[in-house]
Amino acid sequence: MELTSPTDFAKDIVQSVQDYSLLAGRSLANLFRHPRYFADMIQQADLIGVGSLPIVVLTGTFTGAVLALNSAHTLERFGSLSLIGQLVSVGMVTELGPVLTGLMVAGRNSSGMASEIGSMVVTEQIDAMRALGTDPTKKLVTPRVISTVFMLFFLTIISDFVGLVGGGIVATLMFRIDAHQYWSSAWQVLVFQDVFTGLMKPVLFGFIIATVGCYYGISARGGTQGVGRATTQAVVASSVLIIAVDFFATRLILSVFGYR
C-alpha cells in the first residue's frame, strides 16, 4: 500500500471540505435558478419520506417505550412516577426523536444516494447528463436535498408522536399510570424552546444527510469497489456529522434561549 505524505493528506482534506461546501452551496443556490425539477422532488420525497416511514415508526415507538421503562424505575424510587410523561416528552421532542430519525434516514438514504449517484459516475451517466446539457447538481442533488429536509421534518414529528405513544403504553400497562395524566404531563411540560429545538434539528440533519450522500456519490472513483467505499463513507460521515451538529445546535439554542 502506498503511503501518503502528511502534506498531501492535509491537502486532500482541505480539497474535500472545499468541494463539499461548493456542492452544498450550489444545491441551495439552484433553488433560485431555472429549471427546477418539481417532479423529481416529489419522486424523491416519496422514496425518502414514505419509504422511511416504517423504520422511523418502529424506532420511535420502541425508543419512547424504553425511555419510559428506564426512567420509571428511577422515578419510582423518589415516588415521582407521575413525571414519566414529562421525561418521555422532553427526551423525545428535543433529542431522541430528531437524532434517531436522522440516523435512521442517514443509514437508509445517505447510502442510497451515494450508491445511486456513484454508480452513475462510474458508468459515465453523469458525464452523459452534462454532455446532454443538463446540470447534475440541479437534476440530482437539489431535489434530494429539498425532499430530505422537507420529509425529515415531518418524519421527526411522527417519530416524536409514536415515541410518546410507546412511552404511554409502557406507563399505562406496566406502571398503571392514568393515560390522561400521562398525556397531560407530557403536553404541559413542553415549552416553545423544546419544540423549536426539536423542529430545527431535522432541517439541519436533512441537509447533512442529502448533501453528504450526494457528495460521496459524485466523488466516487474506481468502479464498483469505489461505489461501495463511497456508500460506507456517506453513512459514517453523515451519522458522525449529525451527532456533532446536534451538540453544537443544542449549545447554540441554549445560549440563545437560556436553560429551562
Binding site: 429549471p35 451517466q125 458525464d127 452523459a128 452534462r130 454532455a131 446532454l132 446539457g133 446540470d135
Partner: protein, 282 residues
Amino acid sequence: MAAPPTAVESSLRTAEQRQSAVIVFEDVSIAFESNSVLNGISFQLNRGETKAIFGIAGAGKSTILKLAMGLVKPDSGRIYVLGEDVTTMSEEALFELRRNIGIVFQESALFDSLTVRENVAFRLMEEHDVSDEEIERRVREALSFVELEHTVDMFPSELSGGMRRRVAIARAIITHPEILLYDSPTGGLDPVTSTTIIQLIVKQRDVFKTSSLLVTHRLQDAFIMASHYFDRNTNEMRPLPRGARGEVPMTFLVLREGKIIFDGDAHELAHSKDEYIREYIS
C-alpha cells in the same frame, strides 16, 4: 517571392480558419496527476468533415472528446468549438454550447433507470418547451434511423451491447447536432454488430453531413468508413468505386505518447513512411 505575412495577417488567417472549423485544438496539454496524457497537440475539424482518431489504449483519444465537450479542462492551450473558447467558458455557458453537440460514449452511458424512449428524448424533455406529441414523433424518427423502434418501452438492461450503442446514437442525433463525437462506438462488439454500427455512422455522415470526431482503436472501422458510402436508394452501405472519394471528407489522426504523429487522409495514411504508423496499420 511574396513577403512573409505580418502579425495582423496571421491573426486574421487564424480567425478565418477558426470560422471554417467546428473544432480547433491549439497546443493543448493535459496531465492526470503526474501522468502526461496529451502534450501540446493542435488540429482542427472542418465543417462537414469526419475525422477518425487512432491510438493505443491510454493514448488520450477519449480525453480529446471530453476536452472538446468541456467535460474536462486542459492544463494549457486553447480549444475552440463552434467558434467559442471552451477553455474559458463557465459550466453554465457550456450547457448551452453542448446542446449543439451529440456524443456517443464508450459504454453507451444510457440512464439505466429510464426507458429507451426517455433516454432518447432526454434532451428534448430537458428543453421544457417541446410538446409531448413532438417528442414522441422525434423519438420514433431517431429510433427508426437506428432501426430500433420496437425497443421504445424497454430498459437499457434489457438490450444487447450493440442495441445499447444504437440507442446511444439515436439519443445523440435526436436534436440534429452540428457536431457528433463517437467514443469507440464499436469497442467490445462482435464483427457483425460492429459493421452495423459503422453502417449507421456512415449513414449519419452521408445523409446529414454532420461534422464528426470518431475515436477508435479499430483501424478497419475507419477504413470501411473511408472506402464506403451510404446508398439511400437501397438503404445500404456500398463500397466507393476504385479511386473515388466520398462526398464527405474523411481524415485520420494518429496519436502516440501524447503527440499527434499523423493528420491526413486515407491515401496519405496508407503511404506513410513512419515506422510506427506502418506497424500500426499493417
